[in-house]
């Protein structure tokens, strides 16, 4: 079993939904589609209030180089356009679409499957760009940008990320079991963008033996190698996965293509397949609904823009009266939400309803200097030092590698004093950005 070189933790897996097959959720009456579902510039709105849209119709165009277009997940009428809570924590301009129940596809979309080998590279890239595909593992980096790296960078290794190291989440696991052929086709499409001689790995954690077996059977004839990974968080992190599989190290400030690698999530590969072979834009995604406070835990395929309240209704409602945490994403990197009106976006890999008494009693205590956060850190930082500096001298955090931190939360998980290490690091990043912005305006 392979793993990355330093740090890592192994929280309780709690993958309750691993045996439940993916259910397709019925279309809710009202969908809220935010204009920010990816890293980069918000998409530019091209529809008007009251306009009739069809399923899959583009409602917002990619605005700028790093941006992705957004499509209507259903056919119906644009009811309102206003600021609405977003799973990122801020208010974001959101398009509300009232479904008319007819589910009419826009022209030329959702066609019968075609052979992707007949399409030229430009056509494939155009289809991926038009479908608005972004990295669905969580970061949401537009895939069409990722697939066209700078000319001088040579990619020799392609990695499919099926690690799914976050506890609770099983969406990628189920997708690998149920849509194996489609994922492998999607991977072949991504591979076709790069020259021959490309090494293709599929990284799967050892806690998914059925997926490893199935992938081995189907991927080996295609020449892809399945790599069994040790179940360790954050194995699914881009830099960690590259290190575990290829032993290469992505340094500070480098991107994966600097070391000749590219990592794609299984959900992204599936979306690429659907976009290229079926001309189907990214309007739905598979996500895990789990946690102790929800009645029926499920893996569901939900349209983008489904509000969490609709998902609660579909999953039988809240079972526990003491539910105290609603998380969009996994328990480690996901964000706590304050409202059930938050919609599902392209990067929502799960929704968790946590009922934890310990959380209510959580109190921050002074740092013991035990060094466990340093041991757990997978990028060799000193989280205790960063969090202390964030409170005293925020600019010095940059000297200690603040920007290398990917906020995986391992340090805060192991901290015996329950310190908000990740929150302080996030705070330091915001404050440093502010200082930089003030400096820039003063120079002008």
């Amino acid at each position: 079993m392979k793993t990355f070189k330093c740090g890592g933790i192994h929280p309780d897996e709690n993958k309750f939904t691993r045996h439940l097959s993916i259910e397709t959720m019925p279309m809710p009456k009202l969908l809220a589609v935010p204009l920010i579902q990816h890293i980069g510039k918000p998409a530019a709105l091209i529809v008007k209030l009251g306009e009739q849209v069809k399923k899959g119709q583009c409602i917002a165009n990619a605005d700028g180089f790093i941006s992705a277009s957004i499509h209507s997940p259903t056919s119906g009428k644009i009811k309102k356009i206003e600021n609405h809570p977003h799973s990122g924590g801020k208010f974001v301009k959101t398009v509300f679409i009232e479904s008319d129940g007819r589910e009419e596809w826009a022209e030329g979309l959702n066609t019968d499957e075609i052979d992707f080998k007949k399409l030229s590279l430009e056509e494939k890239l155009k289809r991926i760009k038009d479908a608005g595909i972004v990295g669905m593992g969580g970061a949401g980096f537009p895939t069409h940008v990722k697939l066209s790296p700078p000319k001088d960078k040579k990619i020799d290794t392609l990695i499919l990320n099926g690690a799914e190291c976050e506890p609770y989440l099983t969406a990628d696991h189920r997708l690998m079991l149920e849509k194996t052929d489609e994922i492998l086709k999607g991977l072949s499409i991504i591979a076709s963008f790069f020259p021959d001689g490309l090494k293709i790995y599929i990284g799967i954690e050892n806690n998914k033996p059925d997926a490893i077996k199935l992938m081995n059977e189907k991927a080996s004839p295609l020449g892809f190698e399945v790599v069994v990974l040790k179940p360790l968080y954050p194995q699914g992190g881009e830099k960690q996965l590259i290190n575990a599989i290829t032993k290469r190290t992505v340094g500070n400030g480098q991107l994966p293509f600097d070391v000749g690698c590219m990592v794609n999530n299984v959900a992204t590969a599936y979306a690429v397949y659907e976009a290229v072979c079926k001309n189907k834009p990214l309007i739905e995604r598979v996500l895990t609904v789990s946690g102790m406070a929800i009645k029926n835990k499920k893996n569901i395929k939900a349209p983008i823009g489904t509000m969490f309240s609709d998902i609660v209704d579909y999953c039988g409602g809240i079972a526990s009266r003491t539910m105290n945490l609603l998380i969009s994403g996994g328990p480690m990197m996901g964000k706590a939400q304050y409202s059930f009106d938050v919609p599902v976006i392209k990067t929502t890999s799960g929704i968790l309803f946590i009922d934890e008494i310990k959380l209510a009693e959580k109190k921050e205590r002074p740092c013991l200097r035990c060094g466990r956060c340093e041991e757990a850190c997978s990028v060799n930082l000193k989280p205790w030092l960063l969090s202390n500096l964030a409170q005293k001298d925020v600019e010095r955090t940059l000297e200690y590698g603040l920007n290398q931190c990917m906020e995986c939360g391992s340090c805060a998980f192991v901290c015996p004093s329950k310190r908000d290490l990740v929150h302080w690091i996030k705070y330091a990043k915001v404050m440093n950005a502010n200082i930089k912005a003030i400096g820039a305006t003063e120079r002008q």
Binding site: A336, D420, H423, Y427
Partner: protein, 300 residues
């Protein structure tokens, strides 16, 4: 005899080294204006940055070099300006003491809370993950990032809302940059003005849902004002300081009572009213009769 040799050697050494120091001090002598040191001693020494320079020393240097009459230490005010002018032999301009006001009046009881926030105690940290701790995304977060920044103990959190203690506030403006919500603003200290204590740009109905003290943009104040000084922009009233005569009519009609006088003015029960020909009736007596004191203030 043996003691004499070291004594001689050491005396010679002392003499030579002393000579070196003398030469060095002559050669590397830095000419400095003794006035600068005097001025530094007179300045408050808080290095607050209110004058626009990094600290008191830099301010003193610039002041002594340029003799610019418009360079004023806002903390010291007119008294200090007069003293400095006397020393430098110039007549300084009149200082306009400034003070902070808060453009929000949504405290714990009037504003609903968004969630049970358990993260770190800092407004900027909240803004990274939530619109605000309170439901209103535009008002004071109430965790006191500005309190830590204030060097004069002029800010405190009361009921989850920031309050300015006017006596302590020197108008340095350091807190303004520390507020992620931009609810702090500088105004002239001596001239007490009415201001709208709300920053919400949500529609009236939404503001009302979040906060019972928020401006709902009802336009009553606009209609009440006889001097065309109030307007509503983005569902929030704005009072134009240049036109306002401080009659207080707008505050009387405001249904949510979000048009405030500053704390200090309310405590002293006196406000500065401009004398006008138009009898607005804000003071309930015509200007032409009496009421205005010699200093232009009016006892309520």
């Amino acid at each position: 005899m043996t003691i004499l040799t070291p004594i001689l050697i050491l005396s010679a050494l002392t003499f030579i080294l002393g000579l070196c120091i003398l030469l060095a001090s002559k050669k590397f002598h830095v000419k400095s204006d003794p006035l600068i040191d005097t001025v530094i001693l007179m300045l408050p020494g808080a290095n607050c940055g209110a004058c626009g320079y990094p600290g008191c020393a830099q301010f003193a240097e610039i002041l002594v070099k340029t003799r610019d009459t418009s360079k004023i230490c806002p903390v010291g005010g007119n008294d200090l300006s007069y003293e400095l002018g006397r020393i430098l032999g110039i007549k300084m301009d009149d200082a306009k003491p400034l003070s902070c006001i808060v453009l929000c009046n949504g405290n714990k009881t009037t504003t609903k809370f968004l969630a049970d926030y358990k993260g770190i105690h800092d407004c900027w940290a909240v803004k990274e993950i939530l619109p605000s701790v309170k439901q209103c995304a535009y008002g004071c977060v109430g965790l006191g990032s500005c309190v830590e920044a204030c060097k004069y103990d002029a800010l405190k959190i009361v009921d989850g809302l920031i309050k300015v203690i006017e006596e302590n506030c020197v108008g340095c403006g350091v807190c303004i940059g520390k507020c992620p919500q931009h609810v702090l603003k500088l105004t002239e200290k001596k001239v007490k003005k009415y201001h709208v204590a709300c920053s919400s740009v949500d529609k009236g109905a939404i503001t009302r849902k979040y906060c019972t003290n928020g401006c709902i943009g009802c336009m009553l104040c606009v209609k009440a004002c006889k001097f065309d000084a109030v307007k509503v922009e983005n569902f929030c009233a704005i009072i134009d300081d240049s036109k306002c005569v401080n009659c207080g009519l707008c505050a009387k009609v405001c249904p949510v009572k979000c048009i405030h006088l500053t704390e200090y003015a309310m405590a002293s029960k006196k406000i500065a009213v401009k004398k006008t020909d138009d009898n607005c009736g804000g003071c309930e007596m015509p200007c032409s009769v009496k009421g205005l004191g010699e200093d232009g203030t009016l006892g309520y």
